[in-house]
Structure formats: structure tokens, C-alpha cells
Amino acid sequence: MSQSSLPSRRNMLFGAAAVSATALLTSCTSNENNDDPEPDTQAQVSDEKPGKQVTIGFAGPQADHGWLNAINDNARKRAGTYKDVKLEITEGSNDAAAQDGQIQTLIDKKVDVLVILPADGKAMTQAGLKAMQAGIPVINLDRIFDSPQAYRTWIGGDNYGMGLNAARYIGEALKDKANATVVELAGIDNLELTRQRTQGFDDGLKNYPNIKKVARQAAEFTVESGQRKMTDLLQAQPKFDALWNHDDDQGDGALQAIKQAGREGFLMVGGAGSKNAMDNIKADNSVLKATVLYPPTMAASAIDLARALGQGKGVGGLAEFEIPASLTLFSAVVDKTNVDQYMPTGFK
């Protein structure tokens, strides 16, 4: 072999191969994919712009109470604001069999989405199941069905939370008073929602050991029964510090009874949020100082959800494509400080 100062041909070839291999490898570290563009992960949300035509069926209970009336009103008005919504309302009924028939009518009409406020959740679960199995998604409004298979989405109020917030409001107002007493005027007792409200109220009061609930009577959500039962309560309890009344409609009667008995000197908190109650709170001329909301605007929200569902869209402000499976609305406490804001939602 000849002695040479230049790198041998073999070494030069080897060096060139090493350098080019390194250069090739270095260029392969990029991961940028220029073939397909990234799929859009932003949800399609329903908005005011008209979209696909949706027929919404609405089956509610009998509107013999201001709140139920407001539900029907809210649903109708909201549906009226959308050009792409056709609303099919059936006349309300409190009888489970009659409402079942109404729902069947809507199923036969092949509506796109069904919004149901059942007279009783447990009794109407079968009707909800039927609709879901017929391919019509159900928005369960307020009184919840027994089986999650009977609805696609539940939206409603927080009965337990109502009682809790009422207890908190009363508790804070009376927290410096020793041996304070509280009475409760409940609604129809054979409805589960009444039991839940009472449970929330009792649990909330546990945080205030100086307060004791001494009496509870159940009225029937009507003015007449509210007046009668409040008279009884006033009779049975010659002195108490606060009253929680579940419902403002029966609260009208209760206020009459309080006036007729010439009683005052206690704090009254209402429930549900009627316009009349808010007027009284604003005027500050009676014992009624606050009310805990159970917003009837939930019917409008249910229509919104139904429309979104029918158009295959999601809800604004959330990342998911679909509407949620369950939505519980907050029971705000309305008193003199914020009554003006909530006045437009008060039901008549």
C-alpha cells in the first residue's frame, strides 16, 4: 500500500455518506403535516340565525296556577321568536291518563323534538320512554321522569336548593337572635317537590343552631288554601320570628290572612317568584321581604334546547357539540336590593 497524506478514497466516501445521512436525518425531524388541514374542534352552536326547520311538541300540565301559566307563556313566546320553529302545544291536563293521550298525539304527529312537563314525573315515565323509543328525543322539563332512558335532556329547578337558600336567607337575618322560631307554609304535600323543598329548608336551618322550626302546615298552591292554612298557622303560633312560604300564589292568600289577623313583627320569605310578590317586596309595605326563585323561564330555555337538538347543534359557551344531558337552574333569592333586575321574570 502507498503512503498518502490525503484521506483515502474509502474514507472520503465514508465521510460523505455520513454527512449526507446526517443532513437527511436532520431534515426528517419536522412533523408538520401539510396534506390535510386540522379538523375544526369548535362546536356548532345554535343562535338567532334561522337554521333547519324544527317542529317542537309541547305537553304541559293544566295551567291553573300562575307559575304553570307562565311556563306555557314563556314557551309560546320563545318559540314565536324563531322563524325556524313550529310549536305544537297540547292543552294541559293534570290527569296522567289524559296527558299520556296528549303525548301520544304528539308522537303520532311525528314532531322532531318533544318537550314534556309531566303532571307527575313517575307516572309519566312510560310516556317519555315511548317517545324516546319512537325516535323522538324528549326534553324533560322540571318534574323528572323516573328513568334516564325516558329523556334526552332534563332541565328544571332546584327544589332542594330553594329550601336551602330560603333557610340561609332567614338564618342570616336571624343569626343574632337567641331562640328564634320559624314556621313553614308548604305546598301540596303529596308532590315530591314539596318534600324536597322542606328537606332543603330543614338541612339549611341546621347551620343555625339558634333557630328552631316550630310548625309546618301544607296548603295547595291556591290563594284560598293559602289564606286558610295561614290563618290556622297564625292561630297555632301566637308568636314566631320568620315564615317561609313555598309559593307566592298561595302567598297572596297568606298575606291576606296575616292582615286579617293583624299580625306583624316577623320576616316572611316567599317562593317561586310571582310579579305580585316582587311588587310587594319593592314596596316594602308588608312582612314579605324576599322570595326564592323557581324560574318559569325554564320553559323558554327548554325551547332553546329543543331547537338546538333538532338542528343538531350545541349550546353556546360550552365546548361540547351536543346539548347537555342535565341542567339544574339556580334558585336566586330576590329581595329589595335586586328586585328590579328580576322584575321582568315575575309571573302573574
Binding site: A63, V214, Q217, D232, P238, D252
Partner: protein, 342 residues
């Protein structure tokens, strides 16, 4: 057929010869009514025992009377209808329709008297329709008044649009009648109305030929017709009277609640019928007393009052109410049976 006097054992001396005013009163008194007074006495004792501080006070007793007054007025009209051989299932619905019609925005512009007169006219109108259908068209009272029940309620919902119609501030004169200031010698005006209607009812039934005709028509319509009584007109009047009572009750309810709501008068028909039956009025007609019905209403109101004072849960209240009704009727049956057997 006319009933024959109770058979007496042969040979026994007639020990029922009246001697003295008390004995005469005892003999002539309706035993069922006396039994009811006994029941009421027991209730008062129970009330006084369980809640001595709150039950036996004047304002509680006044409260019981006030709460009895609305259903009481309805019961007076119902008693007359039942004695006359009919039944009126629509009283609750008529009360609702009357109170709703009387509190609409349009009616309220006519003030206190507008509210009062409109309510009375509507109720009397309903009674008139009932009476015409039953007396002249020949409809069975159960069916005709059931139809009125449905239509009157439906109309009440329709007129009020399901909403509560409040008595306006301008018409506060109406609700003022329910306030403590309106009491005369401590008696609320509503109680006075109840007492007045009850007394009037008693007078009509027991002291007028109208009352006698009513009993005749209810006891034996065929015999009454043969005796020259215009049975159809009598029946018509009775339903109109029932309607009038409903109108008065509706006004009283408006005074109390300061509003008209289509849910008013809920189940009044059951309360009124139950009070009449407990008071000794025969469902088949021909026999009954106003006093008995008034006592019947008082019994029910007292029961509810005792329950409320004792803070009983509503489900317990319902069960106990049913049991007490059965007990009251059993006591009644026993006492009137033994009275008839002596």
C-alpha cells in the same frame, strides 16, 4: 208512601206522654242533631285538652266560626236542594265562576257593588240553568249538575286565563270587610252573614209554606203533585236558591282572599253534602234540618282546627278526618236507633 208511626208493643203503657217543656223538647228534637252536638262537645273537649293555651281562646273560636262561614252558606242552600229530593254537584264550580267573573278588570271598574252584584247574578244564573234543566227538561240532577260543574269550572279558567285576579287597591272596601276593624262587637261580618243565611234558611224551611212544599216534594213528589203543588217550579226555585247561596259564598271568599281564582271552591260540593248528611239530612229527600247542616260544617272546621293547632302532618289529617266522619255517623245511627226503639 207515607211512613207509619213506630210500632209499639201491645200492652205496654205509653211512657212517651210528654210532661213538661224539657220532655216535650226532647221528644220533638231530631236525635241526629243532638248526637252531633255531642260529637262537637267531644271535639271541643279534645281540643281543649290537647292545646289548652290556644284552642279555648276567643279568637280561636271566632276563627272556627269564620272558617265555617263560607262552606256553611253553601251547605244551607245544598240542604234545601237535598231535602227537595235533588242534589247539586256544581256548587264549588259556581263559586269559582262567580268569584272569577266578579273580579275581572271590567267588573272591578264598577266598584264594591259591581263585584257583589255581578257575582250574585252569575251564580243565580247558573242555578237557574240547573233548575230549568232538571225541573222542566227532566234531566237527572246528578247529571245536570255534573255538567254544570265541568262547564262552570272551564269557563272560570277561560275567563281568568288561569291567572289570579286580584282585587284592586281602589276596591279595598271589599277586602276591608275581612279585617279586624270591620268586626261588630267582636263578630266578623262574614260570620254575621253566615248566621243570617242560616237563620233565613231555617225560617224558610220550618215557618213557611215554601218549606213545607219543599219537604213534600222531596218526600213524595207524586203525592205532592196530586196535592196541587207545582213540583217543577218548586224544584226550579230550590236550585236558584242554591245558586244564590253560592254567589254569597263567592263574595265572602273574595273578601277573604282578596282575589278571584279559578281554583276557588275546590270540593265544596263534597264538604256541603257531607255536612248535610252528617246533620241528618236524608240523601233521598224529604227530611233534614238546617241546624244539622250548620253543626256538620262546624264539626269539620273544628276537626281541621284541632289538627292545625296540634301541628299534624297533612296526610295524618286526611286519615283522621275520614275516621272521625265514620265515628260521627256511627254515633248518630246508634243514638237515633235507640231513640226509635224506646
Amino acid at each position: 208512601m207515607l211512613s207509619s208511626p213506630p210500632a209499639r208493643a201491645v200492652g205496654k203503657t205509653d211512657a212517651r206522654k210528654p210532661s213538661g217543656t224539657v220532655a216535650t223538647l226532647w221528644e220533638r228534637a231530631d236525635k241526629r242533631v243532638l248526637a252531633l252536638v255531642l260529637v262537637l262537645g267531644i271535639l271541643v273537649a279534645v281540643g281543649g285538652y290537647t292545646e289548652p293555651d290556644t284552642f279555648l281562646r276567643v279568637n280561636n273560636l271566632r276563627n272556627i266560626l269564620t272558617q265555617s262561614s263560607i262552606v256553611g252558606v253553601v251547605a244551607v242552600g245544598m240542604t234545601l236542594v237535598i231535602i227537595g229530593g235533588g242534589i247539586d254537584l256544581s256548587v264549588g264550580a259556581i263559586v269559582a265562576l262567580s268569584s272569577v267573573w266578579a273580579t275581572t278588570v271590567a267588573t272591578q271598574e264598577y266598584g264594591f257593588w259591581g263585584i257583589l252584584v255581578t257575582g250574585l247574578l252569575v251564580a243565580v244564573g247558573c242555578g237557574l240553568i240547573n233548575g230549568l234543566l232538571i225541573a222542566y227538561e227532566g234531566l237527572v240532577p246528578f247529571i245536570a249538575t255534573l255538567a254544570m260543574l265541568a262547564s262552570a269550572r272551564g269557563m272560570a279558567v277561560w275567563i281568568s286565563d288561569g291567572k289570579t285576579q286580584r282585587v284592586t287597591v281602589e276596591n279595598a272596601a271589599v277586602t276591608d270587610l275581612g279585617l279586624p276593624d270591620a268586626r261588630v262587637l267582636g263578630i266578623p261580618p262574614l260570620v254575621m252573614i253566615f248566621a243570617g243565611i242560616a237563620i233565613l234558611g231555617w225560617l224558610v224551611l220550618n215557618r213557611t209554606s215554601f218549606g213545607r212544599r219543599t219537604v213534600a216534594v222531596g218526600g213524595n213528589p207524586e203525592a205532592a203533585r196530586l196535592a196541587g203543588i207545582d213540583v217543577r217550579r218548586q224544584r226550579l226555585y230550590l236550585y236558584v236558591i242554591s245558586g244564590l247561596c253560592c254567589g254569597i259564598a263567592a263574595f265572602m271568599l273574595t273578601v277573604f282572599t282578596g282575589s278571584g281564582q279559578n281554583t276557588n271552591g275546590n270540593l265544596y260540593e263534597l264538604d256541603a253534602i257531607a255536612a248535610a248528611i252528617i246533620g241528618g239530612t236524608l240523601l233521598s229527600g224529604g227530611r233534614g234540618t238546617i241546624v244539622g247542616s250548620v253543626l256538620g260544617v262546624l264539626v269539620f272546621t273544628t276537626i281541621t282546627n284541632i289538627f292545625s293547632l296540634n301541628n299534624l302532618q297533612s296526610d295524618v289529617q286526611q286519615i283522621a278526618k275520614g275516621a272521625i266522619i265514620v265515628a260521627a255517623v256511627v254515633i248518630q245511627n246508634r243514638t237515633s236507633r235507640t231513640a226509635a226503639e224506646t
